[in-house]
Symmetry: C2
Subunit: 214 residues, 2 copies
């Protein structure tokens, strides 16, 4: 039978500027597990924020070669001390998911999203809340796939608008059956690590094309 | 021109049983950014561990309906205090990636991986290190897609072998063009959140089937 679980007790053991660490006791049925270490992002404004961030797969179409490309970034990330290949992403600042995505895409990559950026087949009335590292942190977001028109005149000469703490390089990777190996090659050539969500998107994309073979 | 970045200074500000919090100063070209808060997993054994964990998309084939399925779990995660839909995953305990995956799959879901579990088109000599939440934590892993044979006699009656701190339900979802909406429905019906890497795998899988349409 399915067991229920809930948080029974929690205490903050570290509080910083951006994050805090908590120890939580939780139940599994009648059993209690003590002092599980959890990380939480400090939220500045709980009014509109059911979740912390937005991340996106921006698909560049109308490219000169006719092959669609995915716009990704290599960002220096202090936790691992490395540049990471990642999707553009950021913390939400208002309750409009697409406005937040639009802003982050422009700031981090210089590209402008289409006004009608949603891909119909992947648009759901309720995009669920997702969590990057659920065993460690409650930090949460929503993920979307959006369109970027290469022929949009504003996308001919791109300019980033980075925060002072951001060091970000923009990369374009062909969206074809070689996507996963292209990412691995790009990472190897530059000494990058890869964010798991970019890797699994590419793995899902490539697997889809061979899934019928076994 | 590309700017270089590196960690200049770091100090531990919290040390727990499983994680620590550090404040790091890092450079962007000539500029220094101070006291970026980072989380690190405590590593018990650095000898074989370039990375912390393994996660996998286990693909069940030879099913009665003929439709392949993906084996996923809903695990109670104390950080968010919710059950999360996730890929089976775990910390590595030896240097053989597939042995670790095999053990975690058996423990968390009861299923046995194929002896020849690798899918040739997705097998790379160097699977890169990936990071779940690179802006927050250096915790790292490798992700693989593996095969599980429904007709394997051991998979006819599955039995989990859970740790005392694990509360895990096993779900099977059809691997078809509805994969993403099936996950969303499953999450909604049960009050689950979703791990971003499962969500992006499904988004990549479904996007692959419609990418040529626009």
């Amino acid at each position: 039978m399915d067991k229920e679980s809930q948080i029974i007790k929690q205490q903050v053991v570290y509080e910083g500027k951006w994050i805090k660490v908590l120890k939580k006791d939780f139940s599994i049925g009648d059993k209690v597990i003590k002092e599980y270490e959890c990380v939480e992002r400090n939220k500045s404004d709980k009014v509109f924020k059911e979740f912390d961030g937005v991340s996106m797969a921006p698909i560049l179409y109308n490219t000169p070669t006719g092959i669609k490309q995915i716009i990704i970034i290599a960002q220096f990330r202090p936790p691992a001390g490395k540049f990471m290949l990642e999707f553009p992403a950021g913390l939400v600042e208002s309750d409009n998911l697409f406005e937040n995505a639009e802003r982050e895409l422009k700031e981090e990559t210089g590209y402008y999203m289409d006004k009608q950026s949603q891909i119909e087949e992947l648009s759901f009335p309720n995009i669920p809340i997702s969590v990057d590292d659920p065993g460690l942190c409650s930090g949460s977001g929503k993920f979307i796939v959006v369109k970027v028109d290469y022929k949009d005149i504003r996308n001919q000469k791109i300019t980033q608008e980075l925060d002072e703490a951001e060091n970000i390089r923009v990369h374009l990777v062909n969206l074809d059956s070689q996507l996963l190996s292209s990412l691995i090659q790009l990472a190897e050539n530059n000494g990058y690590w890869i964010s798991t969500k970019l890797y699994t998107f590419a793995a899902g994309f490539c697997f889809s094309q061979i899934a019928s073979k076994f």
